[in-house]
């Protein structure tokens, strides 16, 4: 019934979104579908797999290494996310004030973000090298014994957390700075007229006004931490032993070192499940908070 012009107009959006949809279908959707089918198969090589139902998922329950990876992931996430966010917030509040050299300082905190994960990995491996690293050389000047930053199973995770927080602080700071600048200054002025001191103003105005930003940052940071790969791969490769094998590292290991594509796919889907559940819970929580207000 429609005239040709109208029909053409109706096709227009598909032309605009077509290239994106095509690339998405070929390089995201198809691989995801393959991953899902692989997770129900036992594949030792790239050849045809054998259907094994939910065996791969059942195996997770008794896999010690999976449990280790899960715990390591939890430790890594809890170690990195709140630390980076708190440091980013503190810096943003400090650098939102008129201070001499503020622009340069902001840039200096931000600059680690531009370095590739691999670059961060090799620099930090060098800095934290037991025998020749500048960290231990500096400690030696102070008379402190050499610390096995990356070679001791007890220290390696801690060192990785420091390194990842280092790369993440600038990001959190920039996002918080943007949010701080959008808080109307009248609010704070009104509060100071009412006699609120700086800490009271921070707690009762700044923090609540930042809540939406905090919840977005929380989701992004958790996603980043669960997907953190390059730095760990370069610095420890998951070792020593399995002390820094996080889930994503284990997925990679199963697929490329152990050649267990099916099991790796199942592991990966579990990780995606954790991410989705976390995001949904977070959304529910913020919805509840909104309706509460």
């Amino acid at each position: 019934m429609s005239r040709p012009g109208e029909r053409r107009a109706r096709l227009t959006p598909y032309v605009f979104i077509g290239p994106a949809a095509l690339l998405f279908a070929a390089f995201s959707l198809v691989p995801i579908i393959i991953a899902i089918t692989l997770s129900f198969q036992d594949t030792q090589t790239l050849g045809e797999g054998e259907w094994v139902g939910v065996d791969n998922f059942a195996k997770l329950g008794s896999d010690r290494l999976f449990r280790t990876a899960l715990i390591n992931t939890l430790v890594f996430t809890i170690g990195t996310v709140p630390t980076a966010m708190a440091a980013g917030l503190a810096l943003a509040v400090a650098l939102n004030r008129p201070l001499p050299g503020r622009g340069v300082l902001r840039a200096m905190f931000f600059v680690p973000m531009v370095a590739a994960g691999v670059v961060v990995g090799v620099i930090m491996s060098w800095i934290f090298n037991v025998d020749y690293g500048v960290a231990n050389n500096a400690l030696a000047v102070l008379g402190i014994d050499r610390i096995p930053w990356l070679t001791s199973p007890n220290m390696a995770m801690f060192t990785l957390i420091i390194v990842v927080v280092w790369t993440r602080i600038g990001f959190c700071m920039v996002i918080y700075l943007g949010a701080l600048q959008s808080i109307p200054s009248e609010l704070k002025e009104a509060a100071s007229i009412d006699g609120a001191d700086r800490w009271a103003r921070f707690r009762s105005i700044t923090v609540p006004m930042l809540t939406p930003t905090t919840s977005i940052l929380l989701i992004l940071n958790v996603v980043f931490s669960l997907q953190a790969f390059d730095v760990i791969y370069v610095m420890t490769g998951g070792g020593p032993g399995f002390s820094t094998t996080v889930l994503i590292q284990y997925v990679f290991r199963s697929a490329f070192q152990d050649g267990q594509m099916g099991y790796a796919a199942a592991l990966g889907l579990v990780l995606v499940g954790i991410l989705l559940v976390f995001t949904l819970l977070r959304q529910q929580a913020s919805k509840r908070a909104e309706s509460f207000l």
Partner: protein, 297 residues
């Protein structure tokens, strides 16, 4: 949020709270704060400083347990050694080709998709956008093997296209483009239509010219992501000649060809960071805007 991208006009920076009326009384405490922040900031940039210094330090001194902040005899010999024994120019060429072509394609794709999602209603739009967004949640390791199978089926392994095509679909870019296009006034598009411009002319001649800041941010973000990319290029690029700089860097750490591998590694690391650092210093504002716009709903 004040750092949100807006059409044509650059992001508005609100005046800092209480600017002008402070600066009395609290001076010593303020200087203490500045001193503490400066110390922290120096600690933040130290690793990058140390990378450059280590690249300039001769092997003898870097393989020692002495503490120093500046090498006794700075030298470019680490660069000379790595450039003469490894195809470093090829790596840089590969990285540049891949980063530039992918950025060009992905920015065009994101602009088109963002425009369709912001300014049209069509069947399947909600589903498509949700599906796009869900891919952010899916780590590349999960789809690594399947994606490799797809690329192998297309016969692209070891070619730059194996890196370019799968990474040209950039959800974050589409998301930013859509947010930006939502704030382009509908009246602008309508006026172009009333004037008899076709849908495509309306986009190219009326909408696109307002997108300067958006394109700047998309280019910077995409270029940085593609230049720094590691895992996917490592899987699909195999010959030493076809590697990108970050992938090559990761193979260097255990390369027995060097007297002091750390000097060579730091030289290549410096080469990897330098282009992005220059872009960052030149376009700091766009850079920060780009990073901020990824964190906004």
């Amino acid at each position: 949020m004040s750092t949100t991208l807006r059409p044509t006009a650059p992001a508005v920076r609100t005046a800092p709270v209480g600017a002008g009326r402070r600066a009395r009384g609290t001076s010593p405490r303020r200087w203490l704060l500045v001193a503490a922040l400066t110390a922290l900031a120096l600690l933040m940039v130290f690793p990058l400083y140390w990378m450059v210094i280590s690249a300039l330090t001769p092997g003898g001194q870097s393989q020692s347990s002495e503490f120093y902040l500046w090498p006794e005899a700075p030298t470019l010999s680490n660069f000379g050694e790595v450039f003469s024994t490894q195809p470093v120019w090829r790596w840089i060429g590969n990285s540049l080709l891949i980063a530039v072509v992918t950025t060009a394609i992905s920015v065009c794709v994101s602009l088109g998709a963002g425009y369709a999602l912001a300014k049209y209603s069509f069947w399947g739009k909600g589903l498509l956008y949700t599906a796009f967004l869900i891919t952010i949640m899916i780590p590349i390791q999960v789809t690594l093997v399947p994606s490799f199978l797809v690329v192998a089926r297309l016969g692209l392994v070891d070619s730059p296209w194996a890196v370019i095509l799968p990474t040209a679909f950039d959800v974050v870019g589409i998301f930013i483009a859509r947010q930006f296009m939502l704030s382009v006034p509908d009246a602008l598009v309508e006026a172009a239509r009333v004037d008899g411009a076709g849908e495509f002319r309306a986009f190219f001649q009326v909408v696109l010219p307002t997108c300067g800041p958006l394109i700047g941010v998309l280019v910077i973000l995409a270029f940085m992501a593609r230049w720094n990319d590691f895992l996917w290029p490592m899987v699909v690029l195999q010959g030493n000649e076809s590697l990108t700089v970050p992938v090559a860097l990761s193979t260097l750490t255990n390369n027995p060809a060097f007297a002091s591998p750390w000097g060579a590694v730091m030289a290549v690391a410096t080469i990897t960071v330098l282009p992005i650092l220059v872009v960052f210093l030149a376009f700091q504002r766009q850079f920060v805007q780009g990073i901020s716009s990824t964190g906004i709903k």
